[in-house]
């Protein structure tokens, strides 16, 4: 498998506060990687460092073999990385405006085509296309956030807690939706604390206290007694 995203020795944080230590992480082509960790483990900080919202202090980030740690966030997005934040949508814009922003760097025709395709795939969004995203239910908002993340025809989709704020029933829906969108050889890096997402994972990283303390397949994770007790025991798997 070809390496798509390669992170080596990354450290970062906010101002004087260091949150991340010596992170090594990679995502291959067409691979779904889940970054598991409890609240406050540094998952969001790590994702923000990867896309440049909180610039990393040290360490290298290669995307398709090219160093990108010095690039601005919008430049990384142009390269084919898509980032779905925990909020995921602009609540003050309509559904359709959100989708247009998702395809901000794409040619207009292509954006229109893609919006049409997604409306067919998710008729619920079509019905709300002129409503403000803030008026949608939590589940619909996630759906919009997911679709918006795909508007830019990304190679890699990075997601920050797609399950946050959702009831368990909707978490299942989101996982189902993700597996439907896992086409076209797109890779995923999903930060989560909900183990339901392991169903679609090829590989897992466990982040705790700002360090990666496990890396391997889902099976390896399940056979790792210490990690299992620390996370799954608490989560009631």
């Amino acid at each position: 498998m070809q390496g798509l995203l390669e992170v080596t020795g990354l450290a970062g944080g906010y101002g004087p506060l260091q949150v991340l230590w010596d992170i090594d992480l990679n995502v291959n082509e067409s691979e779904t990687v889940v970054l598991l960790g409890p609240n406050g483990a540094g998952k969001t900080t790590l994702l923000k460092a990867l896309v440049g919202l909180t610039p990393p202090r040290t360490g290298g980030i290669l995307f398709q073999g090219r160093p990108i740690e010095k690039l601005r966030t919008d430049q990384k997005i142009c390269l084919g990385i898509s980032f779905m934040t925990e909020m995921g949508v602009f609540t003050n814009l309509t559904v359709e405006e959100n989708l247009r922003l998702g395809g901000y760097h794409q040619p207009r025709d292509q954006v229109n085509n893609r919006i049409g395709e997604f409306y067919t795939l998710f008729p619920d969004l079509h019905g709300h296309r002129h409503h403000l995203a803030g008026a949608l239910s939590g589940g619909q908002r996630k759906m919009l956030g997911l679709v918006k993340a795909f508007m830019s025809q990304p190679r890699l989709v990075i997601m920050d807690e797609p399950s946050s704020g959702l009831s368990p029933r909707f978490v299942g829906e989101v996982v189902k939706m993700l597996s439907r969108l896992r086409t076209e050889g797109v890779s995923f890096l999903i930060a989560e604390q909900n183990v339901k997402f392991l169903e679609i994972a090829d590989r897992v990283y466990v982040l705790d206290g700002g360090r990666i303390n496990f890396s391997g397949t889902v099976e390896e994770l399940k056979s790792n007694q210490a990690i299992n007790e620390a996370y799954f025991g608490l989560k009631g798997h």
């Binding site: 934040t85 609540t91 901000y104």
Partner: protein, 304 residues
Amino acid sequence: MNLPGAQKGWSPDMLEFSLIAGILFGLFFALVGMGLNLVFGVMRIVNLAHGDFMMLGAFGAFWAYNLLGWNPLVTIPVQGLAFVLAGMALYYLLVPRLVALKDFEMISLVLFFGLSQTIEALAVLAFGNNPRSIFQPVFGQAPVHFLGRTFPVAWPVSAAVSLFFLILVYFYLYRTRAGYATRAVMASRDEASASGVNVDRISALTFGLGLLLASVAGMLSLFMLGSVSPDFGGNITITAFAVIVFGGLGDPVGTVLGGLLYGIGLMVMESYLSSWANILPYVLLLATLLVKPGGIMGKEVRHV
């Protein structure tokens, strides 16, 4: 404020005059607030030099009229372009350095206060500390009759120019790609970056647009407020701030509503309680913050 042509004293049909004049002035005040509010919405910076840029716009129109014989309506596009470019240059010169600082919001207030004082001091040196005005009938001699009332022709002309620019802002924000991006940045800088928006470029553009609107509003002040002197900036910044707080910080639609209500309120006070009219912005600012801090549009106060 010394309003040219405003009628004073009690009269039964005075209210009607005040309401119509209030709407004309309200459009002007909406324009006064709009530039300040766009800049605040996108950058979370209160441009305390907003009124001073208005003053520069007024002086630009004054000198263009007196030295070159340009009608102020001709000055608008030329001067406007210059202000957009100056605004973008100023943004890149000042703001990226500020953003890197820890106490960004506080430092930016101090910096723009300093900028305001500097512009005012330089303007006094350059133009002398005298109020300037442009001969009113530059927009035509005849007073306008409307709904049985008579107004100086400069009022409806200024209101029409204000309305034109407000509509332009609306089209920019709601019908263009840069406008979507601007509203996205207003909602969340990080989220906008994550969608591929170059937040710095949008911010620079917005700062330029804010200065453009200030220059137009400044030019109109020569007609709506009678005259402009180099120390004009401070008070009009407060007025602009009162309008946008009243309408809701960061909300362009609220600014239009806030401007209209402020204009009507001001004209009603000018008619019935004219000696109190000067404190209207301060009272409005205090009352809004105490009673409805999110402004009349009722959105929650944003937590940055």
